[in-house]
């Protein structure tokens, strides 16, 4: 009376549940990341539990290479893949408006097309709305035009993502958030604890069963690079409105002191992530998403690199070309954010907060 453990006909969620139940009977991987201690809290797993576990997984692959039940074993365990697929399905389910769900996640071509459209828009704006006079960037596009384009391009995606997060929180049964949950979640995100492999001291992403910290470092370069760039823009906005100090800014100004290292980290980290992606085994992630993810990390790289190039070209005629290119990249990044890998950052943070609640 052996039970049917073959994968035929199981939905993504059912397949993830089948594997998680086997993991819960084994528990050898307990020390790798947050997923396994979370599994041991339960004996049966609702669809919401699967969504939560899927978003808690950082695809480090430590559990896959340690697993005695991977293919060709009849249990056919490939938890990194099962959770990657459940994770991306959850993002598509939470995407608003639903019409865009999966568009940029699944297709690098769509993301590249969005980028080209945004370039076009910015070049058109630069040509058609070129001011009579202005200093620095504002010689090409006035501040008010930039705000008119980027304010909605920033707020609309944030609004869409917040709707998704609300749906996520409902599905995983989230409770009211307290400071201790936030402290724990942010501390884990800041260290990228779930890519550390616990005592293994690294993950198995790009070198099969050998452990390295390379992906963790590149990921953190991207994350901190992005945050620094964001802080740079925020500080410039503050200077502009609160202190009446419009751009351009010198090297020793807050926007540049934050933005230059931020751009460097974003560009190097993004490039590193792209290279690692070519080395990792495709079938331990969600193969259907590979192209979209690759396009996304390359967009991160391009955004950072074009920003640095723009700064390097300050005062030259190249600014006229580089400004719309860079702003086009930024615009494409923000507009597509609710439908690209970018949502990973938001849902992962939510998963860490929920996990902090469950571990109490």
């Amino acid at each position: 009376m052996p039970l049917d453990q073959t994968r035929t006909g199981l939905s993504t969620t059912e397949e993830a549940r089948r594997q998680i139940e086997i993991c819960n009977a084994c528990r050898y991987c307990e020390g790798y990341c947050s997923v396994f201690p979370a599994i041991t809290l339960q004996r049966s797993f609702s669809d919401g539990d699967i969504t939560q576990l899927a978003n808690l997984c950082h695809n480090c692959r430590g559990c896959y290479y340690a697993c005695q039940y991977t293919d060709p074993h009849e249990f056919q365990i490939n938890l990194p893949k099962a959770l990657a697929e459940a994770r991306s399905e959850s993002w598509e389910r939470f995407a608003w408006p639903g019409a865009f769900s999966g568009l940029f996640q699944r297709s690098g071509v769509a993301l590249a097309a969005a980028l080209v459209v945004c370039f076009g828009l910015l070049f058109w704006a630069g040509q058609a709305l070129r001011p009579e006079s202005g200093e620095g960037f504002y010689a090409f596009l006035t501040h008010s035009v930039m705000v008119a384009i980027f304010m909605p391009a920033f707020l609309l995606p944030l609004f869409a993502i917040s709707l998704g997060l609300r749906a996520y929180w409902r599905e995983v049964g989230g409770m009211p958030v307290r400071l201790t949950h936030l402290t724990r979640a942010f501390s884990e995100a800041a260290r990228l604890k779930d890519l550390s492999g616990g005592a293994a001291g690294g993950c198995n992403f790009e070198k099969e069963d050998r452990y390295t910290n390379v992906r963790r470092w590149h990921h953190q370069a991207v994350m901190y690079g992005f945050l620094l760039c964001f802080a740079s823009t925020a500080s410039a906005t503050m200077l502009h409105y609160a202190f009446d100090m419009p751009a351009p800014y010198g090297l020793f100004s807050l926007p540049k002191l934050l933005g230059i290292p931020g751009g460097l980290l974003l560009a190097l980290g993004g490039l590193g992530m792209a290279v690692l992606k070519t080395r990792g085994e495709k079938d331990l992630g969600a193969p259907a998403l590979w192209g979209g993810e690759m396009a996304f990390v390359l967009l991160l790289f391009f955004t950072g690199a074009s920003g640095l190039a723009l700064y390097a070209a300050s005062g030259s005629a190249l600014v006229g070309v580089l400004l719309p290119v860079h702003l086009g990249a930024v615009l494409a990044f923000f507009l597509t954010a609710p439908y690209t890998k970018m949502v990973h950052g938001f849902f992962r943070l939510a998963a860490l907060i929920r996990n902090a609640q469950m571990q109490e």
């Binding site: 009376m1 052996p2 039970l3 139940e21 086997i22 819960n24 009977a25 084994c26 528990r27 050898y28 991987c29 307990e30 020390g31 790798y32 201690p37 041991t40 004996r43 430590g62 559990c63 290479y65 340690a66 697993c67 005695q68 039940y69 991977t70 293919d71 060709p72 074993h73 009849e74 249990f75 492999g197 616990g198 005592a199 293994a200 001291g201 069963d209 050998r210």
Partner: protein, 473 residues
């Protein structure tokens, strides 16, 4: 492959599990050229080591992840208890004493341990748990061996160890089912495991009942090298019917089910055979200690099958099982679903329930909540099976490894007709019967494999140099 067979290797290691890898690493670190002949394909490399989880280790104070202390005498007493004295004290104490030095050696060769665990046996003092389990340990050793220049050949089934005048010269090996070839060496370490993967051999030793056993570990341990050595007159230890056998989920795969097939529900259940009759005290002792005896108990029942039955009170008291329990609202319904005689099961459970008495139930310790006036008695955790839904699991004997093996001395040297072979060493399950005559102690297989694997590798490295000099002279 031709290059491998043209060369004379310093050390040929037969097998690719923990003991083989420890031997290969030691020999390579001593500067010898080493080839590992692993019978399994790469994805199944590591023998039973890929299913193990921990290493039992002596320590005189806190050591790495181990707390408190666990000294030689206590460790030895634990071993005596499970083997009922059926051990070689000198070799056992050597394994125990050397284990303390092995743990740091393991860490320095890539093995990672995990700090603390939930939901496992309470072994944080005596046993160090591998992060990721045995396959992660095996991966670490293969990487270390690769870095040391050890050559690894997968799907390499050694069919014959050439021994002439007390001396090893070469092995005959079939690689990936290809033609037989000779690989020459100056020393050999035999670490190719037991014979539990050969069901016919098990059936010769145990009788036809063995055909119903499940093999919990690797299917690649078929005892080919062990049999070849015994046929050539190598001295042996162990009883062919002795093995590490536990009662596992009856629905487990025939081979390679590993840890997840464990069932921890027995202490909270009544266990009946296919005739619906109880046959042993389910509450004899805390489960980890008694777990290992249930394989033999079930093996002695008709058709080598038993059924563990609990009610809703106990459903969440043990580790989750990999296959869901059979569930029914009535005992009769459960009997029907499990193919048991319903009326007989009802009588057995009624008699058991009537023998239960009032008392305090403590799931995690011996609570003395025993039956009165029923045979066999249940001496702990005896609560009536009365609250629906009822749950049932089938049990079958699951063999992890066999104990019949080669006799070795304290240098892991193999003997033939009472004479030491000049350049043949053995490590791991192929010689574990020298120390584990019967019973089992969690994590001790890894201790034997690591200790004797390292000794065999060091000795073979020295032996290979002597062999070289002898040839040169």
């Amino acid at each position: 492959m031709s290059a491998k067979s043209e060369k004379v290797w310093d050390v040929v290691v037969v097998g690719g599990g923990n003991a083989a890898l420890c031997a290969a690493i030691e020999a390579a670190e001593a500067g010898r050229s080493v080839i590992i002949l692993e019978g399994a394909p790469k994805t199944y490399r590591g023998g039973n080591s890929r299913h193990t989880r921990n290493f039992r280790c002596m320590h005189r104070g806190p050591l790495s992840v181990l707390t408190d202390s666990y000294e030689e005498d206590e460790y030895f007493d634990d071993l005596i208890r499970v083997t009922k004295g059926n051990t070689d004290e000198e070799l056992a104490r050597l394994a125990i004493r050397t284990s303390e030095k092995c743990l740091p050696w393991m860490e320095s060769h890539g093995v990672r341990f995990q700090p603390s665990l939930s939901g496992t046996l309470s072994l944080g003092r005596t046993n160090a748990f591998f992060l990721g389990g045995g396959k992660a340990l095996v991966n670490a050793y293969y990487n270390t061996a690769a870095d040391l220049g050890v050559e690894v050949v997968y799907e390499a089934q050694v069919t014959h160890v050439e021994i002439a005048d007390g001396r090893f010269n070469a092995v005959e090996v079939e690689i990936a089912g290809g033609a037989r070839q000779r690989i020459e060496g100056r020393a050999v370490v035999l670490a190719s495991g037991g014979f539990q993967g050969d069901i016919d051999w098990l059936a010769r030793a145990w009788g036809p009942a063995a055909r119903n056993f499940l093999i919990r570990g690797t299917p690649y341990n078929r005892g080919v090298v062990l049999k070849d050595m015994l046929d050539q007159g190598a001295d042996s230890v162990g009883d062919p019917t002795q093995c590490h056998a536990v009662a596992i989920d009856g629905r487990a795969p025939k081979f390679d089910g590993g840890i997840v097939t464990r069932l921890d529900c027995v202490p909270f259940s009544v266990v009946v055979n296919k005739n619906g009759e109880r046959f042993y005290d389910e509450g004899e002792d805390v489960w980890p200690k008694r777990y290992a005896i249930w394989g033999r108990l079930v093996a002695a029942q008709p058709d080598q099958v038993a059924y563990s039955i609990i009610d809703s009170k106990s459903a969440n008291l043990f580790m989750p099982s990999v296959f869901p329990a059979v569930e029914a609202d009535t005992l009769e319904g459960l009997a029907e679903k499990m193919g048991l005689p319903a009326e007989k099961l009802r009588q057995t459970v009624d008699a058991f329930n009537a023998a239960c008495r009032e008392g305090t139930f403590h799931p995690t310790e011996l609570d003395g909540l025993a039956t009165e006036g029923v045979e066999p008695q249940k001496t702990n955790w005896a609560r009536p099976i009365s609250d629906p839904p009822f749950y049932g699991y089938s049990l079958r004997p699951g063999v992890t490894f066999t104990y019949l093996g080669l006799k070795v001395d304290e240098t892991a040297r193999v003997t033939m007709g009472g004479r030491k072979l000049e350049n043949v060493w053995a490590a791991g399950e192929i010689m574990a019967g020298s120390i584990l005559g019967e019973g089992y102690l969690a994590g001790f297989g890894m201790t034997i494999g690591t200790v004797f694997g390292r000794i065999a590798g060091q000795e073979a490295a020295k032996g290979a140099v002597r062999g070289e000099n002898a040839h040169a002279a």
